[in-house]
Symmetry: C2
Subunit: 192 residues, 2 copies
Amino acid sequence: MARNVEFDEEVAIQKAMEVFSEKGYNGTSLRDLTDAMKINSSSLYNTIGDKQELFVRCVKHYTEIRKRDLQKRATSAESPFTILVNYIHDAVAEIVSGAESCMTVKAAFEVATNDQRIKDILKEDSEYSYQFICSHIAKAMEKGEISSEEDPQLLADYFISTWTGWNESYILYKDPVKIQRMANYFIKQLSK
Amino acid sequence: MARNVEFDEEVAIQKAMEVFSEKGYNGTSLRDLTDAMKINSSSLYNTIGDKQELFVRCVKHYTEIRKRDLQKRATSAESPFTILVNYIHDAVAEIVSGAESCMTVKAAFEVATNDQRIKDILKEDSEYSYQFICSHIAKAMEKGEISSEEDPQLLADYFISTWTGWNESYILYKDPVKIQRMANYFIKQLSK
DNA sequence: CCATTTCTGAAACAAGCATTTCAGAATTAA
DNA sequence: TTAATTCTGAAATGCTTGTTTCAGAAATGG
């Protein structure tokens, strides 16, 4: 016997995510958010909650997209090594596209230090990527696609760290070639 | 015929730096700053300037410390490779000490995106490290200390990226061993 | 169409923000 | 000591912040 919510929550979260991603958590005001989401603050507080809650939802939304992407890649018919290489190249492409790619990285440095909830979400996201990379390196080794005898866990950790740095490099230098060269070097390390 | 400034500017900047480093630029209020610096806001505005200016001074202060550190290392009597290895180990030690080590990294992700001045300071800092690493790798190769035939410039870029990621890893996992293993892997890569 | 429930928009809220003001204390040099 | 100058502390500034309120519009099921 009553009215329904007027706005599409997922669309609104997506918009909020873009703003947070550009300006950071503390650099984003509630006005910025409600403007982008095209809703009134009362609606926001009635449905999603306060600013913190919205940020959590945004980070979760983003990590879920990444998770689904990895799940899709894992079911690919390609060989483990090819899956890995494609993944790395797409990661580079996302960085140099200048999109809101580095949301998790930005959140890690700005918010995770003092916010356990965000830290936990980011850890879960990081661990999922870790498992993906780790298992595919291991499989590729078994198949003989990778000649490196290094520990897959170490290589996975190493890739994740390096990837974070690529984001910083691109913020400072906006040089796609720099990132591509580093990615190629990492791939090369796997195969020798 | 007049009074002098009462507080030691360098000490005050150092204190401000620690606060910024912990809470980020937007997460730090002027109260936080004046409390830590133990000065009144009027004194701050009369000597250093506004919040932005203070932040610039803090980042500069931090990068100058790093520069002096590298200059000292460069004049060491040790071999190029030893200088590099010491540098890398000390970089790890600084991260896992949990100090304000990642000030530049945090600033890169939170502020540099939308602040050209900060971006320029960070680029200069990054380029100085780059030159240091690059030249020492090249020298170590000439002396036969490093067997990798990879481009020193690529390796330097790669190290800087990786180092950024170590900071994130330590924020999320607080696991010193993880960082140490990655550092050892990088060093190993140089010598094979 | 009606009664009920829920959502929305605009305004109001107090608290916090960065910044400025200014009287008076402190220091200086003569 | 005195006169000139500069620094400091506390208060006030106006603006922005995140959040709440509430009257009225809108949708719902009967």
